[in-house]
């Protein structure tokens, strides 16, 4: 077992993890953060996206031990029913949510984009969201929701 220290959603944790344990396993099984979804286990689908030290990563491709010392935001650390993040509000209002399995990863990719670039072009939005697959094929509404969230943030 390896001891790691990390900050998840503003809370510090010290965890004992297996050498082969993935970050997604540590988040889901040790911390009970079940909003991080596993769709493929090989970095194709982006359902397990979290923000690690300001970058979006596929948490199925990061070993828990590699996350030692890092600051992580999972979907549980973004907004709530009293005060949703502009991206979450836009996703609901535009109808960018169908089955919802890709949604946490989509929201995190969009949030991370807007944290760094408050006025993204359509192309920049497309690139930022390109690591997240939606099989219900709601891409048009997803991209529109990100655009609306960006415009709302500017006000």
């Amino acid at each position: 077992m390896i001891e790691i220290k990390l900050v998840v959603n503003d809370k510090p944790y010290t965890l004992e993890v297996e050498p082969s344990e993935r970050l997604i396993d540590a988040l889901r099984n040790r911390l009970g953060l079940l909003g991080t979804k596993e769709g493929c286990g090989e970095g194709e689908c982006g359902a397990c996206t979290v923000i690690m030290d300001g970058k979006t990563v596929n948490s199925c491709l990061v070993l828990a031990a590699q996350a030692n010392g890092s600051v992580i935001t999972s979907i549980e650390g973004v907004g709530n029913r009293r005060s949703p993040h502009p991206v979450q509000k836009a996703f609901v209002e535009v109808g960018a949510v169908q089955c919802g399995f890709c949604t946490p990863g989509m929201v995190l990719s969009a949030k991370n984009l807007l944290d760094k670039n408050s006025k993204p072009s359509n192309e920049e939005i497309g690139i930022a969201m390109s690591g997240n697959l939606c099989r219900c094929t709601g891409y048009d509404k997803i991209l529109r929701a990100v655009k609306i969230a960006a415009e709302e943030g500017k006000e």
């Binding site: 953060l33 979804k37 596993e38 549980e76 973004v78 089955c99 099989r135």
Partner: protein, 421 residues
């Protein structure tokens, strides 16, 4: 008619739980004391299981049970026919489940699964549906059908000979489509347990909870009232969650061990285990006059059902019904077939058999237009269904048939070479 619902925007209430990551998909539910189960699947497309040795696996610390065909009270399930085994002794496709291993952790279960020795007698397999249709081909489901032809749907209208006599132009072509996987984003998962009433409770993502309940009850030899299926959030389906996947195996393991049982497919297991879109071979011969009026169609559509029936009959029926497209053709002969092979089984997927034939009939329209010397739009305008048109199956269309309006809308884009600006 004006209503307050149709045409208005409604916020879906479940979307909030989804954007906060709170929605529970079946992989997200757990019970105290649960064990994990994994499936051992056949690497062979056609084989008999001669023996399964689970001694070594059972001796691994943490292994609770290894179940095989002999542990299933009624070893069959299926949406149209119960032709699919819960745990197979006779293998009809790669991926057929032969045993299920339950253990204290998923790691132990996966390690134990590698220690289960399965002895197979490998049989010659058939992968080409036209080969499988030959009268001397070995039938894969002899108790269900004497040959591998599961279904044949003939449609006849008018007089084909007269149709060919009127035709100035005839186009004859062969089209084929491939297997397609739904690849719904959430791989199959299930949590099964025996509750305080002694009832079998199965939590899963399914398109068909009442059917799942019946199949679980049948396979385990329980009454319907002893089985409860709870549908959690469904992470995409597109037809791929209409058949049973892990539900019965998890229930069987829970019933045998009296422990809650969790099962989750990896993406690879998901690809191996659920249905696919039917690959189809479509032989089309279409005739038109020099004015661009369709006068005759002869079509033969062969759908690869794969190893099990699933929804093949309904799918190939729909292919036949849609084979003439949205066009008036007075003389028609259509034959569609669903054929068993040792390929992965085919089932429901978006469009349900209507999608494949589009490739054939619309390609034929383009080729006829080119041959006659009119535009692809023009040939469609001259033949499309209107109110009062009679389809190849004899249906008189009396309702809303706004194809002309639809084509009028897209006509400006077609004139620009098919690319919208």
């Amino acid at each position: 008619m004006k209503t307050s619902v149709v045409g208005s925007r409604v916020v879906r209430e479940d979307a909030w739980g989804k954007v906060f990551g709170q929605t529970k998909f079946p992989a997200d539910v757990n019970l105290q004391g649960q064990i994990y189960a994994v499936v051992i699947r056949s690497p062979h497309p056609h084989a008999r299981v001669l023996g399964i040795n689970s001694e070594q696996a059972m001796s691994l610390a943490g292994v609770v049970a290894v179940l095989t065909a002999k542990d299933v009270p009624n070893n069959s399930h299926g949406v149209l026919f119960r032709d699919q085994p819960v745990l197979a002794e006779y293998i009809r496709m790669v991926g057929d489940p032969v045993a299920v291993v339950g253990a204290e952790t998923e790691e132990i279960a996966r390690a134990a699964a590698k220690l289960v020795e399965v002895e197979y007698q490998v049989l010659p397999a058939v992968f080409d549906p036209e080969e499988a249709m030959m009268p001397d081909a070995l039938p894969l489901h002899p108790t269900l059908r004497p040959t591998n032809v599961l279904y044949h749907m003939p449609i006849r209208r008018g007089n084909l000979q007269e149709g060919w006599a009127q035709a100035d132009v005839v186009i004859e072509k062969e089209y084929s489509t491939q297997h397609v996987d739904h690849a719904f984003l959430q791989p199959e998962a299930v949590l099964a347990h025996v509750d305080e009433r002694g009832h079998m409770v199965v939590q899963t993502a399914t398109q068909y909870a009442h059917y799942d309940r019946g199949e679980i009850a049948h396979a385990l030899g329980l009454r319907f009232s002893q089985v409860q299926v709870k549908t959690l959030a469904v992470g995409g389906a597109f037809g791929g969650r209409e058949d049973i996947s892990l539900q019965i195996m998890a229930a069987l393991m829970a019933w045998n061990t009296l422990r809650p049982v969790k099962m989750e497919n990896t993406r690879e297991e998901s690809f191996y285990s659920h249905s696919k879109r039917h690959p189809m071979r479509m032989h089309y011969k279409t005739g038109a006059t020099k004015d661009g009026k369709l006068v005759a169609l002869e079509a033969k559509i062969i759908g690869d059902a794969g190893a099990y029936s699933s929804w093949s009959i309904n799918v190939l029926r729909k292919s036949a019904v849609h084979a003439s497209g949205p066009y008036v053709i007075p003389n028609v002969s259509i034959d569609s077939y669903a054929v068993f092979t040792n390929n992965p089984y085919s089932g429901a997927m978006r469009g349900f058999g209507a999608a494949q034939t589009v490739l054939a009939y619309e390609s034929q329209m383009d080729l006829l237009a080119k041959e006659i010397g009119i535009s692809p739009l023009e040939i469609r305008l001259r033949n499309l269904f209107k109110v009062g048109s009679i389809t190849a199956t004899g249906q008189v269309l009396t309702g809303s048939v706004p194809l002309d309006q639809c084509l009028a809308k897209i006509a400006p884009y077609l004139q620009r070479g098919g690319v919208s600006q």
